[in-house]
Symmetry: C2
Subunit: 607 residues, 2 copies
């Protein structure tokens, strides 16, 4: 199925590589047909060219709108060389078969990107190009169709290797690329027309279209997807976008890293937007284990988090320390989101933690160097384009079905804390905590509930199937966080050889107090003199001192039980959407327990 190339039709908008290709084809004795600017470029290289108009005996007209749309061209592309009727028609009409088409299209996408006018865009809808590509691709048994300058090298190499012939395999591959290009090209045009319609429509009903094409360009391949056996896997950018919103500055992110990064970055960017402060999030398994803003650490928290007084902290590094220290066991090997350009102080904090990667809107050079050296050079560093806005609708496929929805593009702001149902006006610091909790839960797998205090999430309960389970789960985390400040915990005297993460784990296990015999033995070995147990009574008494805590919930409370439970963990402020048929009982519970509660009016399920 090899085909000798005797005649080529070249008509390209992008002239890259044209001289080399033309020169090669001429050297192979190929006759070249061409149009307008392409013909001129080739002639300027000293190559003989026949104009399409000369061949068809029909002049180019309408400013180039009609050039190659002629039966003598399309007959030459579509005629089957092994069909006697076709051959007879060709002879009758003086049609010479064309064996190679090289065409690329008017840069419609680029004109969209640079905000071209309607008239410019219409003029950049290529008609002749796609027709040539499609005719040649249809007839790929006989014709090779080259639709991108990146293919020239391959075609030249193959013709060289096969005495000026193209192979069937190559032609099939090229035909595939050509139809892919024309389909993407028209998808782009239809999207543009669609957006015009939507923008124009006064009667816009916000319905999704009957037919949808989503186009993607490969950004990078992944080792695998959610699991090692899920190969292949890759990250794509949207065809409409010039680039991916995240640039990989270091490392090879995994599928789950990228999911974490997408959620973590949105979370911190939205907190920055809402509160105009530095924010950090520590993700594991597509939910935040912790998140915080850069409220300065008290001396006590410096001790709890093992941050020497001598360490200079910035707002961003403080935010990360707080995010990481909400649940340091869960945050082990986290993926980090940061709201601001990463400074050296933050990079130095990250350096000492076991972590998978970070996403941020930028990196100071010194910070980037520190991060690149982390984890044997494999620490993932992603730079987010802070100006990026995703398209309004998002698609996902589950079990072969397309799920389409408007992205959760609602931005929380202070008006979502205005509808006070119980209690009196909220202090600013509480508003910050409630805002933090709301945004965090927007990016936490549902159902979710979270406790916040002093600009820090101190317990996030993710992925539960009942509301009260979330309240309990997150409550236990908040309690553990609080008990790390207990004098007996702070007084634990570790052996010098004990490593930082061992100390962190040992304190938490001491607080949880449910060690098995084996575990207890190994735990004891961390001390010269193991501490006395922390009794249930001691824990209870210390927990009773926890107060001023804020609680957020991603959906309403169906019963008052959640409020009763939350009150055991010092909760004095609550935000929730409201809307349960038992709202009244929930309000009553808050009043009894001296809790101020606001309705955000916004449900924030996340899946």
């Amino acid at each position: 199925s090899e085909v000798k190339v005797r005649r080529a039709l070249i008509s390209v908008s992008d002239k890259a590589g044209l001289r080399e290709l033309g020169t090669f084809l001429h050297s192979q004795g190929v006759e070249i047909l061409s149009t307008g600017g392409t013909a001129k470029t080739l002639r300027d290289c000293g190559l003989p060219v026949m104009d399409v108009a000369e061949y068809t005996k029909f002049p180019e007209m309408m400013g180039g709108r009609v050039k190659s749309l002629h039966p003598k061209i399309h007959g030459a592309l579509l005629g089957m060389r092994d069909n006697p009727q076709h051959v007879a028609s060709m002879k009758e009409h003086g049609i010479e078969p064309i064996d190679l088409v090289v065409a690329n299209l008017y840069p419609f996408k680029e004109v969209v990107s640079r905000g071209g006018t309607h008239a410019e865009l219409v003029e950049n809808v290529d008609i002749g190009g796609p027709s040539m590509l499609r005719s040649a691709a249809k007839n790929h048994s006989h014709v090779a169709v080259v639709s991108d300058p990146s293919q020239y090298e391959q075609v030249i190499a193959e013709m060289k290797a096969h005495q000026g012939r193209t192979t069937g395999k190559l032609r099939q591959r090229l035909a595939h690329s050509a139809f892919l290009l024309t389909s993407q090209y028209d998808a782009m045009i239809s999207m543009w027309l669609g957006s015009q319609l939507a923008a124009d429509a006064a009667d816009e009903q916000g319905l999704l279209p009957e037919h949808v094409q989503r186009g993607y360009d490969l950004s990078f391949s992944l080792k695998y997807g959610c699991n090692p056996h899920q190969k292949p896997a890759a990250i794509y950018k949207r065809a409409e976008d010039a680039k991916l919103p995240f640039q990989v500055k270091n490392g090879n992110p995994s599928y789950i890293n990228m999911l974490d990064a997408a959620n973590a970055y949105q979370l911190v960017a939205e907190i920055r937007h809402a509160l105009d402060v530095e924010a950090a999030a520590s993700f594991k398994h597509v939910s935040p284990a912790g998140a915080a803003i850069g409220t300065p650490l008290t001396s006590l928290l410096r001790r709890v988090y093992e941050v020497p007084e001598s360490t200079d902290l910035t707002g961003l590094s403080t935010a990360y320390l707080r995010a990481r220290q909400a649940d340091p066991l869960c945050s082990f090997g986290d993926f980090v989101g940061l709201s601001h350009v990463v400074d050296e102080a933050t990079a130095l904090v990250l350096k000492t933690e076991v972590s998978d990667g970070v996403v941020a809107p930028g990196f100071e050079p010194a910070a980037l160097e520190i991060l690149k050296a982390k984890k044997g050079g494999s620490f993932v560093v992603l730079e987010a384009d802070a100006s990026y806005t995703p398209p309004p609708e998002e698609f996902r496929e589950v079990f072969g079905m397309g799920f389409a929805q408007r992205r959760n593009d609602l931005k929380f702001d202070m008006k979502h804390l205005a509808d006070l149902k119980t209690g009196s006006a909220l202090p600013e610091s509480v508003k910050q905590d409630l805002m933090l909790a709301m945004v965090v839960l927007k990016y936490t797998q549902s159902n979710s509930v979270g406790y916040a205090l002093g600009g820090q999430m101190i317990g996030v309960g993710a992925g539960q199937q009942s509301r009260v389970d979330c309240v309990k789960l997150a409550g236990r985390k908040a309690a553990t966080w609080w008990l790390r400040q207990h004098p007996k915990v702070l007084g634990m005297q570790f052996r010098k050889s004990t490593k930082k993460q061992e100390r962190v784990n040992a304190r938490v296990r001491y607080i949880e107090g449910d060690m098995s015999e084996v575990e207890y033995k190994s735990w004891c070995s961390l001390f010269n003199q193991p501490p006395e147990p922390l009794t249930a009574e001691e824990k209870q008494a210390f927990l009773a001192q926890l107060t001023g805590v804020s609680l957020g919930s991603d959906a309403f409370f169906p019963f008052r039980d959640s409020i009763d439970h939350a009150s055991k963990f010092g909760v004095k402020y609550i935000t929730q959407p409201g809307g349960s048929i038992r709202d009244e009982a929930v309000v009553e519970a808050c009043q009894e327990l001296g809790i101020s509660m606001v309705y955000s009016g916004v449900r924030a399920f996340h899946h």
Copy 2:
């Protein structure tokens, strides 16, 4: 911007509605140009038609491959009526403007669906049709382009309302549809060529393509997406599929219902495949609250689940009862997956539970009637196409990025229970439980761990960020399930007026034992004589009797702590992928605790 229609070009593959349209256009004095079969059909209706070949003075050739690809046609479509140069060109070449194009394309997709040959498929790649559509759509300022018979009515109505004119708005909408059609048409062709290439390639490396188009057709609109403010939202089928794998038999599923259904159905279908038994799953928030196979209920469990001895149970209804009763609080308002055609017995069980909907491979007529009547007629009933297989790769968009991966199409079977690391050969019933746990966790949000006993999940821990948190979370659920069999619980004497769900909740809260004062008061009101508390010692003593439990984990155990914890809940069998650097310590723990452990070798993260 209204344009009087004086001349129309009609060339359709689908002749539906052609007579009515032709008759209308003729009645409006529109001159009709046409080709081949379309011209014949119109003439058979007694309508005057001019052949394209007569107009272009160029005959149709190559069996219809070249008909309308002529400058006299495309000049008539592309010429701008308000551009003096264009008008002069038209005059010079005897080109009469065409104001309306009616074209649809060779049925390429249908020929793919019916498994056409390569030659048939190539012949069904339409060339002239897309060219006409594209030229007319580009020039939508002057030309109306009709690309589907469903548009005829609208065009006729609008021309009637505007004295034979088309409006700019209509032409823009039609142009949008035309480019959408051509883009989808070419996407289909490119997918076909791509699949040919993939099938042919001996050197297939399993890489994802550089450029991807995913095409979707609307199946049905949703009220909203994950949250009420996420509008619009819809479910689409893949353009390549004839229909959605789920048919809606009743109700209006929500976005989260559909996510639950997709996961629940895959879960039960895979258990059916692996164990050849009836299976059921009870989903909430995209994780199973419970799942089970149809192992007959003991008399004791009938009492615990309040199923009278007189009730006839089938395998499927038993499976659902078990799935629902793992955690009946979480399963309140569940979405149910069933592995087999739903019988009346199962429908009757479902009837009495508060539930959102069900998916199953079919419904006996009596069962369907019962389900349709449920929830005031709004119970969601989805029928799954048991023969459906999704495509190998799946795409999802997060923050505007395309995430592509091979679907988790690995099917668990008995070979995944062959690599025994500790203990002796596993009994068949244990293999069933371990298989159940493995499949369940494949569809549970990660991290996840689950406990199984007697063909039933008795605790599923979903969505956690540390492994041991999953073990504890699911362990508490298993313990609660087990304690529901405690004599003191079974002996609770409710007032006659107490409703079933109230009894279920009251028992669980009695076991949990952490009621607030208010809750305790309301709890007491359910009894004439409130039961004595269940003490921690009583619970501990009863829990010590729980044994023979199987545990599954979606990824390896990083430390032995999970094993130590699990042993408190009667765990004697474990399946996990293995592969931790501390596998040895985990094996040691199992040996100490008399636990048999197999390595599945398969990680099953799910996000």
